[in-house]
Each structure stands twice: as C-alpha cells, then as structure tokens.
C-alpha cells in the first residue's frame, strides 16, 4: 500500500518546499511607521505563522545589573487590556505559544500560532510593548522566582557559567554584562519600568514574521503599533566594545548535580564582527560529529575521543561589533580536563596552519550548511535576521567564496595575537593556569 507508486502524488508538495526556500531568500525589510519589519512567506504546507518582536535591549545595554533578565521574564504579564492569566488562557485557546528569550544584544518576544490568528497575537505583542503594567506584586510573585531559578540553573551548569564569566573577562562592560540577574544586585520595579520605557521605543524594535508577506505585515504593524507603542525615542545605547581577556578559576560546587563536569573555556575575542573565515575555522576545528556513534574526523573531536565522556567543542559567538571564538572543554574529572585542555591549546595554536585543501573544503561546506540550516528554526532565523534588521543591512546568506586555506590561517594568526580568555571550573588545585597551558 505504501509503495513508491504514491510518490508522484506528493510531488507538488515537494515543489512547494522548493518554492518556499526560494521566496524566503528574497525577502527584504520594510519600514512601518518607524519600526523595521520583515516577513518570510513560506508557501509550503505549514499552517503556522509566527511573529517576533526583536528589541535591542539585551544585557549589554542594561544600566542596572540583571534588569534585562527581569524585563525578559516580565513579558506577557498584565497589560492595560489583559491580565497575565487572561493572556495565557487566551493563547491556550488559540493554540499558540508565547515565548521570550534574551541574548546579550537582543530581547525577542515571540508568538507562534495557527494561520488566521494574526490579529489577536499582533495585538498581544503590541500591548506588551505599549501598556505593560509592571505591578510590584507580579515582580515578587511571578517574575523573581523564575528569574532566580534561571540564574541558579545557569550557575549549576558549568558550560553556561564559564561562558558568562568568559564574556565578563573578555569585554568587561557592555557585552561583558552577565545574562542573568544576581541576588547581589536587587532589581526594583522602578528600574524595570524605566528600562522598558527606553527599550520599547519605536526606533529600538523590529518585527519579524514568518508565514506572512512583508507588505501585509508592515501594514498590520503600522496600524497595531501606530498609536499604542511608545513614542519614538533614542532607545538604548551601549559603549563601543573593547576586548580585554584574562583568567578566572572557579571551584565546582560540591552540591552541583552529577551532570556538572569540570569545564575549561579557552577563548579569543576581537572587537570586530565575525568574518566568514572564523566561521569556517570553527568548523575546521570542529568538535561536533556529523555522524552518530563516531567521534568525527575534526582535530578537536579526535582529541576528545581519547578520554571517554569528554568533549571539546569550538564555538563562535558573533555580535554586532565583536566576536568571541573559542573552545569549551569538558571532562569527567579535573585531571582529565587538564590533559585535554593542554592538547586543545596545542591544536588551537596550530589552527589553520598546514590544513589540507580537502579539509578546508569540508569545513566550508559544513559552515555553509549550518548557516543555512540555522534559519530553518524560528530561534535561528530570528537570531540571524534580528541583528541584520538593526544594522539596516539586507538579509542574505553568508558567502564563503573568499575563504581559502591561506585566509583561514591569516585569520587564526590574527585572532591568536590577542590575550587569551581562560575560565576553568572544577578542582582548581588541579586545573592548569593559562601560562601552564602554554598561552
């Protein structure tokens, strides 16, 4: 019954998918009453749409430590038109999902829903931006417990904690601000209110839609945000980013869960945005296997495969005016982490030197794929399109045509000139210092 004979009937569907990928690559932003707007029309079988408001209000712009984290959790609470309970229950009835996420540069408020419910969810997002009430009792009863648990969760995850500390060491202020609120710096309701007021200025937000065209989205946004949203303001501004680097050693809490492994992060930053060369370098060092049950062929995963349960993964965190490139090393015990870290540092030092053409080609293919596949999920799409909208540039996929073995080795040499950022979490009497690693 389920034979190949059925295949021709499903071919139109396949065509739709191809059409969809073509049409979404040509979407261009428009302006709707001061708010930049972009819609990706997927003509495929998907019957869901989504709306995301990207706000330039990440932790780098915060004036009081943790206020961005608190504001993120204040999303979809009481507004002048609906209580938080009403918003939640109505969303359930419509079969939608409301979510808020925070990065170092942006705050994303997303609504995913069935096609046809755009009107309702656009008004929900507009009222969050324009008329959130910021009740003190909601801060204490609904927001702070979640903020606290998210902060504790991050504290007890060595990789998240290490990256947070690495940012502080690397950039100190601005991008170096922690993503999480801290009990040492209480955030009051007045702080949240004043931060939200500047953050939700029209020049500071942009709207990204999927399943809608840019024209219809910009029409709807200019009517929904027209009167409601706060007036045009200067928005938030952070200072220029400078890279510093440094070293930090944190003992792993004895009460940490069994999944918390000793972690070492070795990172190099620069105060210029990520280049295609760095993206390819990340794939060249690798650490992630593209095939199940095998360690993979990249140098980092080969090194990590020698220790059972260990991993070494390269990462590249791109920001609008800086980037952080590095490797996260975890191992079951601190001595093993030390061994692996020493090996990883020697790999980083020789990165890009004498790599074969086929390796580079493989890395370029991988980088192209991961760049493209990132925009398939809402989260990935929003995190790549949001910054581009604020930069005022066009939305296009990264071109890796200029990357070659020599350009990679040049980029790597440039990167390694900077002072390294080293964070070790685990048994600090065993874990090596940066100079012991040869950095």
């Amino acid at each position: 019954m389920y034979s190949l004979a059925r295949l021709p009937r499903s071919q139109p569907l396949l065509k739709n998918v191809i059409k969809r990928s073509v049409s979404s690559s040509t979407a261009q932003p428009a302006s709707a009453g001061g708010v930049s707007v972009i819609g990706f029309e997927n003509k495929g079988p998907a019957s869901t749409s989504s709306l995301t408001v990207a706000v330039k209000a990440g932790s780098r712009y915060e004036s009081i430590p943790g206020v961005a984290h608190v504001l993120k959790n204040f999303a979809f609470k009481a507004t002048s038109s609906a209580s938080s309970l009403r918003t939640a229950r109505e969303t359930e009835l419509y079969g939608g999902v409301l979510s808020a996420s925070l990065t170092r540069e942006h705050l994303f408020l997303s609504a995913e829903f069935l096609r046809g419910d755009e009107e309702h969810f656009l008004s929900v997002l507009a009222s969050v931006l324009s008329s959130s009430q910021f009740y003190p009792h909601e801060l204490n009863e609904l927001v702070l417990p979640v903020v606290e648990s998210e902060a504790i969760q991050a504290q007890s995850t060595p990789a998240a904690l290490a990256l947070d500390i690495a940012h502080t060491l690397a950039f100190r202020k601005g991008l170096g601000n922690s993503l999480y609120a801290s009990p040492n710096y209480p955030v009051t309701i007045e702080d949240v209110k004043s931060y939200a007021q500047t953050a939700f200025a029209k020049s500071n937000i942009s709207v990204i839609g999927t399943g809608v065209s840019t024209e219809s989205l910009s029409k709807a946004v200019s009517s929904a945000f027209g009167s409601g949203s706060s007036a045009a303001g200067s928005g938030l501004s952070g200072g220029a980013t400078k890279y510093f680097g440094g070293e930090s050693r944190v003992p792993l809490d004895i009460h940490a869960p069994a999944t918390a492994l000793p972690t070492v992060v070795v990172a190099f930053g620069s105060s210029s945005p990520a280049t295609p060369d760095l993206k390819v370098l990340k794939e060249l060092l690798g650490g992630e296997s593209s095939l199940k049950w095998t360690p993979g062929t990249s140098p980092l995963s080969q090194a990590a495969a020698k220790i059972p349960g260990a991993s070494a993964k390269a990462f590249l965190l791109p920001y609008s005016d800086a980037s952080l490139f590095g490797v996260v090393i975890t191992a079951p015990t601190s001595p093993q982490a030390k061994t692996l870290a020493t090996e990883v540092v020697s790999i980083i030092k020789s990165a890009g030197k004498g790599s074969k053409d086929e390796e580079v080609k493989r890395a370029i293919a991988k980088a192209t794929f991961s760049d493209a596949v990132g925009s398939e999920t809402l989260e990935g799409l929003v995190s790549s399109v949001g910054p581009a909208l604020f930069a005022g540039g066009t939305i296009k996929s990264e071109s890796f045509s200029s990357v070659s073995a020599s350009s990679i080795s040049k980029a790597a040499a440039e990167l390694l000139k900077a002072k390294p950022t080293v964070v070790s979490i685990g048994n600090v009497s065993v874990l090596p210092y940066a100079d012991e690693l040869g950095l």
Binding site: S83, L85, R86, R89, L93, G116, E118, E119, L122, P136, H137, N140, V212, S213, S216, L217, K219, A220
Partner: protein
C-alpha cells in the same frame, strides 16, 4: 462598585458593606459620614492606635496574599500597631490621647489590595469554568488582516 448581592452578603473576606453605594451619592454620604465617624470612635479601636483595616480578619489565604503585597513600610507599621494595641489590651487602658488614631489618618490601606486579590481569584475561577463555544457570526465576520 460591587454588585448589590456582594454589598449585602459580603465580597469575599471584606464582608457586607453598602459604603460603595453610599459613596456614589454625595448628599447621603455627607449625612452618613457623621454617623460613620461617631461609630468608628465609639468602637474603640482608634483609642488603641489601630487603623480600621487592621481589624479585617486575616486568617484566610486571600487576606494573607493581600498582606504579602503591602509595601515594606506599611507592613512594618501594621505589625507595630498590632503589638502596641496588644499591650494596651492587656493593660486594659487606652493610649495617651495624642497617640489615638486621627480620623484623617485612618485610611483603608489594605482594602484595595484585598479587592485586587478577590478580583484575581474571580477571574481565575471564570477561566477555570469557561465553556468554549463556536460563534457562527464570528467566523463570517472574521477578517484576516494579512489577507
């Protein structure tokens, strides 16, 4: 203004009160305020330094939640008044006259918070017992703003 049955049978922990109805009628209120003030002075709580809202029965979750929403200074003052009042009760004496609660200081600091909590509980109950109905008119009149 609460509904008439709420005013007669009580609005949650707040008890029956025709005050909202009276407050909307200025002539009646002017007449009534004299009696109300006389009653409050005669009740004796002002002589022990309490405010009217200190007398609301607090042993229920609604009022407990409202008390938890008080600003820190009001919450502290409330405890202070209760301790002072308790001591006066044990001594069977009123406070010195200059420490009695003045009529203008006798503000309803807790009632708005209790009303807020009661309204929240009511809303939650409404959503919990809600029945979803498909409205035919809505489907026809529904406009797709992106259409």
């Amino acid at each position: 203004m609460p509904t008439i049955d709420k005013m007669i049978f009580g609005n949650g922990p707040l008890g029956p009160s025709l005050a909202p109805w009276i407050r909307q009628r200025p002539t009646l209120q002017k007449f009534w305020a004299r009696w109300s003030n006389w009653y409050k002075n005669a009740a004796g709580y002002r002589q022990k330094g309490y405010l009217y809202d200190d007398l609301i029965v607090e042993e229920n979750p609604t009022v407990q939640k409202a008390i938890s929403r008080l600003p820190a200074n009001q919450s502290y003052d409330r405890v202070f008044r209760m301790r002072r009042g308790l001591i006066q009760s044990m001594l069977h004496t009123p406070l010195p006259k200059e420490q009695w609660t003045k009529a203008e200081a006798d503000e309803r600091y807790l009632t708005p918070l209790i009303e807020q909590v009661v309204a929240e509980e009511k809303e939650r109950e409404e959503w919990d017992t809600m029945v979803v109905e498909r409205l035919k008119q809505r489907k026809e009149g529904k406009k797709n703003i992106f259409g």
